[in-house]
Structure formats: C-alpha cells, structure tokens
Symmetry: C2
Subunit: 274 residues, 2 copies
C-alpha cells in the first residue's frame, strides 16, 4: 500500500494524528525495569502495547539505541517488531551520505528492519536521498525546519527570494515522483509550518517539538494538517514516555497520550470539517 494511504488509514482508524517518539533513555527508565535483560526493549514493548490503538505512528530515535551499542541495536530491532503493521513506524535516523553509503542505511532501516519511513538530512543532495525513496510504500521525511535553537544557523539563510529550508522543500518536491517524500517541520515554528503546508499541500509532515520542547498543539494541528485534517504526524516523546516513573508508567503514558490525542482532535474539529 502506498505510504500516504497507509498513513491516512491509521489516522482514520485510530482517529489520531499522534506519534509517540520512542526516545527511550535507559537512565530515565523506571527503577524496577532496570534489572530486565533489555530494559529499553521491554519499556518500549509495554508503551506500545498500552498505546497502539490511539496513535498513528511511533518514531524510534536511533540515537538512544545506538548509544547502547549492540544491546541498543537489539532493542531497536525488537521495538520495531512490537509495532503492529497497520501503524506507521518511523526511524528517526537523520541519515544522509554519498550514494553507496546511503544505500547501506536504506537497506538496514527499510529492507531489513522494515520501517515505513526514515528521517533524512538533505545537505548532501539528491543521490543521498535517492536510496530512501525507491518504494512507494516507504517514506523519506526530509529535514526542512527543525525544532531546535540551532535551526536558525543555516535553515533560514536567505537564498534568492527564499530561505534555505524553503529551497530544500522546493527541490525535494521535484524528486517526489513516487509521492513518498515528507518533511520534518518543528511545532516550535508555526509560521514556517503554515508556509510549508501551503507549499506542499499533500505531503506528510512530521512535526516534533510539542511537549518538552514547548511547541503549541493548536498551531501544529491548524498549520500542519492537509485540508481534510490529516497528514500531520504530531510527535511527542518525553512528556509521554516519562509521564510516570513508577510501575504504572505504561498506563500513565497511555493517559497522557489519550489526553494529547484528544487535545489534537479538539483543534482538528475546530479547524477542519471531516
């Protein structure tokens, strides 16, 4: 199934634009889990089990798994396997390299681990992105404007009548012949989000930055959705994962995820007739 169809389907079925970011930091796991053979994997398994009916996607931040070496890599693999095939799985890897190296990354994340999408850094251009957009079923979310303070250093440099991130979008849309390119646009930048959605009315937008990073849910929905109130994938990580540090962490995560899904849907109903 084409990536966009799969995304729309799950957004319908679970009535949710929420993506849970599995930035699972071993140092922040509940005490009682730390003696588990692979605490990251077990934590994620329980989070996924408690929330898979109320999200559209999970985003696995590869940094937190690679930092644990072989064990972390196994946790990433097991986490991917715990995600139901109807729910979108995103490897937040921010990769990008010369063609033959990007092919290796695409091979592990898309073919081997079978993620539905990978986040990609555009700096190295077309051949660095190409291996990630071979299949209509799998999406490359290209970094456009990110949610962090450093976004201002280069992404806003004036390039002719546009700024750099707008050129990234303009250029990447030309590569989008298989309709499997999306963009990462931070919720901390509502004005930019609005202009990106205008420029790219029918592509998926991965929107991090609500929750711990302080972006507004209202703007993420209002400016991030397509005109039917879909295709925004709104990510929260820490506020959900660490909602409780006790044995009830999974239920607490579910409660926070539900609260957030409903807040998102409150704004969806306000701004979109579905």
């Amino acid at each position: 199934m084409a990536f966009i169809s799969k995304l729309k389907n799950i957004q319908h079925r679970n009535n949710s634009l929420l993506c849970i970011g599995l930035d699972t930091d071993p140092a922040k796991l509940p005490e009682f889990l730390r003696s588990h053979e692979n605490p990251q994997a077990e934590f994620n398994r329980r989070i996924i089990e408690a929330t898979s009916g109320i999200v559209c996607a999970y985003k696995v931040n590869t940094a937190f798994y690679e930092a644990e070496g072989e064990r972390g890599w196994r946790a990433m693999r097991e986490t991917r396997q715990a995600i139901a095939s109807s729910v979108i799985s995103i490897a937040d890897a921010k990769r990008g390299d010369i063609g033959n190296s990007s092919e290796r990354y695409a091979d592990i994340f898309l073919n081997e681990l079978k993620f539905d999408a990978v986040t990609i850094n555009p700096y190295m251009g077309k051949d660095s992105v190409a291996p990630f957009i071979q299949s209509r079923e799998q999406c490359a979310f290209i970094l456009a404007v990110t949610s962090n303070p450093g976004a201002k250093d280069f992404q806003y440099l004036k390039v002719g009548r546009k700024v750099l991130y707008e050129k990234v979008i303009e250029t990447a849309l030309k590569w989008n012949t298989k309709k499997n390119i999306g963009f990462v646009a931070g919720a901390t930048k509502p004005k930019e989000l609005r202009s990106i959605r205008k420029e790219a009315p029918n592509v998926p937008l991965l929107i991090p930055g609500i929750g711990a990073q302080g972006g507004s849910v209202e703007s993420a929905v209002r400016y991030g959705c397509d005109d039917t109130g879909h295709l925004a994938v709104i990510n929260a990580s820490r506020s959900i994962l660490y909602a409780s540090s006790g044995e009830n962490f999974a239920e607490a995560a579910r409660a926070e995820a539900l609260r957030l899904r409903d807040e998102i849907n409150f704004w969806r109903e306000k701004f979109f007739t579905q």
Copy 2:
C-alpha cells in the same frame, strides 16, 4: 593531547597523510573470509595490521556496519579497538540532531568507542554540533562540500556573497574555540578545496573522493594541506580495501596504500618545503 597535535604527530611519524576508509562491505570480502565468525571485523583487523605504519588515520564508515545490525555494531567496536592509539580513528557517521539526541551519538562515538573524531552534518546548527566539540582531544569534521554529485543541490546555493558551504565554514569557525573543528571537503572539488584551505588555514581537512570517486591526488595535496604540508587527511577506501579479492588481500591493500602514500608524498615534496 590536543587533536591537532595528535594528527600532526602521526603524520610526521608515519610520513603519511593517507587515511584508509573502512567502508567494509560484507558482499565484497574475499571468499575465504566469509565463513569467519565476524568477517567484517576480521577483514579490518588484517587491513589495519598490514597498514598501520603507513597511514595517519582510519575512517570507519558507520553505514556499512549498521547495515549488518548487531554483528556489524560489534565489528565496528572491534575495528576501533584494533586501531593503535597513536593513529587517528574517525567515525564517518555524518550525524547531527537536536541537542539531547546529538549528546547520545557523541556519547557512543566519542566516550564509549573513543573515536578521535566524528563527521557531522551541519544542517541543524550549533546545538547539534556542540556535543561533539566538548573535548580538545576530539574533533568534529563538519561536512562542507562533499564529493558526491548531490553536493551541487544545496551546498552551492548563493547566500549573500558566499555560497552555503562557505557560510557553513564561516559559522563553524566561530564555534571553534577549542581548535577541534575540521571540515570535510571532497577531492573532486579542487577549486573549493583551495578556497576552504585559504579560509581555514589551520584546521584539519578530511578529503574523501580520490580513488574510486575520481578526485585528483595532486589537487588534494596541493590545496588540502596547510602551509607546512600537513593537516590534510586524504581518504581512499575501495581502491585499497578491494585491491585483491584473494588471500593476499591485506598485502595487496598495503601495496596500494604505500603507492598512494608515496604519490601523496611526491606532491607534498613538490609543493611544500618541510
């Protein structure tokens, strides 16, 4: 020891600017090694053993290890351990993420695996680079102008009177208070290499693109070195690793590495009085 001193020391001691890129592709390994418990690690161990007296650095391309999952990660770890502490080890990871994620990458590559340097993608700006430049002893090679065809898509966009990669260099040099920032500049772009060296006379330049990618050794040396004929780290991967596919692969790699080191030194002697 400061990174630059360590680099200069090994360039002196081994009389070499050559870096061997360990882009070790399991599919290209000699037949007889494939039954080994961990062929990538064993291949690298033998390459390193055969060449460690004639190089200044090894560059481990993380894509080729991650593509093998847990086993590849172990191969990367064992490869790092096989590199003598006097020789520069570079994780060619091209990472870059928001602060707390970049910290996780820095933790594994710099603190845990103890690479001397990591390659970094600048698109996300200062806080994405900061975790990699905390120690004077470890270097962040920031992507400036890369050796691949896609380099032209964004790196050459006109930004005021400069182009993007020049702005990247100008900005990153302001972050270089610990003298531990270097740049990646492809040997396939001699004119750009020359202007980068002029702009940044005393920083290490990691120069991929000779060998299989077709960049000229003469230009890499002439324009990549500082004014004493050092600080260029000239990388070749495939032409050395796969010099022979037989049991003599390590000796063949050594012969090719020696040939390349000597070619590099031929031009060093021509252009620099040492």
